[in-house]
C-alpha cells in the first residue's frame, strides 16, 4: 500500500486539519469533527446536515457552503460517523428553522443518524431525515438493507440546499429531498478495488481483464464479475440497467452525473460521458444538465458511476441556483 498519509490512524484528523487550513471560509471543528459554514444565516433557515464515512471526497465536506450543505460530520474511512458528531453538527448550524439530515442508506449511517435524531429531539431541535437510496445494483425489499445511497446524494444536497437557501420551511425542504432521491437512479462499474489505509491492501482482487459491475463506494465487491469491454459497451450496459428501473421515456430530460470513483483519469470520464450521452439520445432522453468528474469517490478505486435524475423545470431551476462550495460552485 502506498498512500500519502502519516499513519492509518491519523488520516482523518490530518486530512481535516488540511481541509480547515485550505478553506478558511468554513469552520472545521477538529475535536467534534464537524465542518460547517463560518457565516451564520441572517434570518433562520433550515439547516442541511449530511455526513458519512470518509474516503468519498469531495463528498461531503466539499459540498458545505452557500446553496448546499450547512454542515457535515466525517466519520473514519468508510465508517459512519457517530451520533455525537451528528448532534454537534446539527447544533452548530441550527438557527431555529429545523435540521434536515441527508443520510445515505447504509445500516451504520441509518442507525447512527437515528440515534442522533433522538438526541437532537431531546435538545429541542426539530429534525427530518432524507434517506438517499439510488443504487439499482442492490435488491430492494423489506427483507434486505435496501438500496445503497451513492451519486444521488449530490443531487439531493444541491437541490434541497437551494430550496433551503430560499427560506423554505423544514417539511418542504425534506419533501423535496425525498422527491429528488425518488427521481434518481445510479449504477457503478469498478476496474480496480479501493485500498483503505487500515486494511492496507485492495478490498478484492480483480484480474487484468475483469471488472466488477454493481459496486458500491466502500470497496466491497459488486454484484457480478464481467470482462472489460470498450467504454461504449459499458456505458450502454449502465444506461440500460438504470433505464430498466427508472420511470424515463422518450422526451424526458435528466440531470446526469458521470462520476469518477477516485482513480480514473478525467479524460476517460469524458469518453464515458460521450457514450452515455449518445445512448440516452438513442432513447430520446436529453441530458439537460450534467456533472463529469470525481464527486462521490471510493478512495483510489478506478471506475465510474452514472446517476440519472429525472428533471422538471422546478428541479432545473433549483439546480441552476447559485452554489459556492469547495467542490461545486457557480453563480
Amino acid at each position: 500500500m502506498k498512500k500519502l498519509i502519516n499513519t492509518p490512524e491519523s488520516v482523518l484528523a490530518d486530512a481535516l486539519a488540511g481541509f480547515g487550513a485550505a478553506h478558511p471560509e468554513l469552520t472545521v471543528d477538529l475535536v467534534d469533527r464537524v465542518i460547517s459554514r463560518a457565516a451564520r444565516p441572517a434570518t433562520p433557515k433550515v439547516a442541511l446536515v449530511s455526513g458519512g464515512g470518509s474516503g468519498h471526497e469531495p463528498l461531503h465536506g466539499g459540498f458545505v457552503g452557500l446553496g448546499m450543505l450547512d454542515a457535515t460530520c466525517p466519520g473514519e474511512v468508510f465508517t459512519s460517523p457517530v451520533p455525537d458528531q451528528m448532534l454537534a453538527a446539527a447544533q452548530a448550524v441550527h438557527s431555529g428553522a429545523g435540521v434536515v439530515f441527508v443520510v445515505k442508506n447504509y445500516t451504520g449511517d441509518v442507525m447512527n443518524f437515528q440515534l442522533a435524531a433522538e438526541l437532537a429531539a431531546e435538545e429541542g431541535i426539530e429534525v427530518r431525515t432524507v434517506l438517499v437510496n439510488d443504487d439499482v445494483a442492490v435488491e430492494d425489499s423489506t427483507w434486505t438493507a435496501g438500496r445503497r445511497g451513492t451519486g444521488a446524494t449530490v443531487m439531493v444536497e444541491k437541490i434541497a440546499g437551494a430550496l433551503a437557501e430560499r427560506g423554505a420551511p423544514l417539511d418542504q425542504v425534506a419533501a423535496l429531498g425525498d422527491r429528488v432521491n425518488a427521481a434518481s437512479r445510479s449504477f457503478a462499474i469498478a476496474l480496480t478495488a479501493a485500498t483503505t489505509p487500515a486494511a492496507g491492501k485492495p478490498g478484492f482482487d480483480l484480474p487484468e481483464d475483469q471488472i466488477e459491475a454493481g459496486v458500491g463506494i466502500h470497496g466491497e465487491p459488486g454484484r457480478r464479475r464481467e470482462t472489460l469491454r470498450p467504454a461504449r459497451e459499458l456505458a450502454a450496459e449502465v444506461v440500460d440497467t438504470i433505464l430498466a428501473d427508472h420511470d424515463l421515456a422518450a422526451g424526458d430530460e435528466v440531470i446526469a452525473l458521470v462520476n469518477g470513483l477516485g482513480g480514473t483519469p478525467l479524460l476517460e470520464l469524458y469518453v464515458v460521458f460521450g457514450e452515455v450521452h449518445a445512448r440516452l439520445a438513442e432513447r430520446g432522453i436529453r441530458i439537460a444538465r450534467n456533472l463529469v468528474g470525481n464527486y462521490v469517490t471510493s478512495l483510489d478505486m478506478a471506475g465510474f458511476s452514472l446517476t440519472l435524475t429525472k428533471a422538471d423545470p422546478d428541479l432545473l431551476e433549483l439546480w441552476d441556483a447559485p452554489v459556492a462550495t469547495p467542490a461545486l460552485s457557480w453563480s
Binding site: 464515512g53 468508510f78 465508517t79 459512519s80 457517530v82 445500516t107 442492490v138 458500491g216
Partner: protein
C-alpha cells in the same frame, strides 16, 4: 458476576479484539468494507480509557459506560448495535452482583436492543446469528452456574458464527453482494463469538 468481573470482561474483550483485529478486517474485506477490526479496536480502546479508574456501583455501570463509549466512538453498523446492547445489559444489571439467571436476562435485553435497532432476523448473517444461540445456551446452562453457562454460550456463539458461512446476507453491507455473500463467515458474528469467549475466560478464572 460482580463489578470486578464486569470490568474484567470488558478488558478481556478489548484484548481479544486487539488480537483478532486483522482477522475481523480480513473477513469484513471479503463481504464488507474492511473496517470491522479497526472499528471495534477503536471502540474498546476508548472503553478501556472510559473505565479507567471507574469504581462501578453496580455490575451494569461498567457495561453501560462501555455501551455509551462504543456508541460515541465506533460509528458504522457495529457501533450503535454493540453500544446499544451493552447499554441495555447495563440497565438490566442494577445490583452489585448478578447471578447466572439475572445475567442471562441481561444478555436477552442486549439481543433485544440489537434486534430493535437493526431489525435483523436469525439467518440474516449478522451478529444476531451468534448472539441468539449463545443466549439460548447460556439460559439452558444457567442452573449449572455462571462459569459453565458462559462456557456453553461461548461454544454456541462460535457454532453460530461458523453457521453464518453458508448463509446469504440480508442485512448490513454484505447484503449488497447478494448470492456472492455465501461462503464467507460474517465479521459481526465473529466478533460476537469473541465477546462470549472472553466472558467464558474471565468467568472461569474467577472460578
Amino acid at each position: 458476576m460482580d463489578t470486578t468481573l464486569a470490568l474484567a470482561w470488558v478488558r478481556e474483550i478489548a484484548s481479544a479484539v486487539e488480537e483478532h483485529e486483522a482477522q475481523l478486517t480480513e473477513l469484513d474485506s471479503a463481504i464488507g468494507d474492511g473496517d470491522h477490526g479497526s472499528n471495534l479496536r477503536r471502540g474498546f480502546t476508548a472503553a478501556l480509557a472510559a473505565l479507567d479508574g471507574l469504581d462501578p456501583a453496580s455490575v451494569g455501570a461498567a457495561l453501560s459506560r462501555t455501551g455509551t463509549t462504543l456508541i460515541s466512538k465506533v460509528g458504522g453498523a457495529s457501533g450503535p448495535l454493540y453500544g446499544s446492547a451493552f447499554r441495555a445489559m447495563g440497565t438490566a444489571l442494577p445490583g452489585e452482583r448478578a447471578d447466572a439467571a439475572e445475567f442471562g436476562a441481561a444478555l436477552a435485553a442486549g439481543l433485544a436492543a440489537i434486534r430493535r435497532l437493526g431489525a435483523a432476523e436469525p439467518g440474516d448473517k449478522t451478529i444476531v446469528d451468534a448472539w441468539t444461540p449463545a443466549l439460548a445456551a447460556f439460559e439452558l446452562a444457567a442452573p449449572t452456574g455462571f462459569a459453565a453457562a458462559a462456557e456453553a454460550a461461548a461454544g454456541a456463539a462460535e457454532q453460530g458464527m461458523r453457521d453464518t458461512v453458508p448463509l446469504q446476507a440480508r442485512k448490513g453491507r454484505a447484503s449488497y453482494l447478494g448470492p456472492r455473500s455465501i461462503g464467507h463467515q460474517d465479521p459481526g458474528a465473529t466478533s460476537t463469538a469473541l465477546l462470549f469467549r472472553a466472558l467464558a475466560r474471565v468467568a472461569e478464572k474467577a472460578g
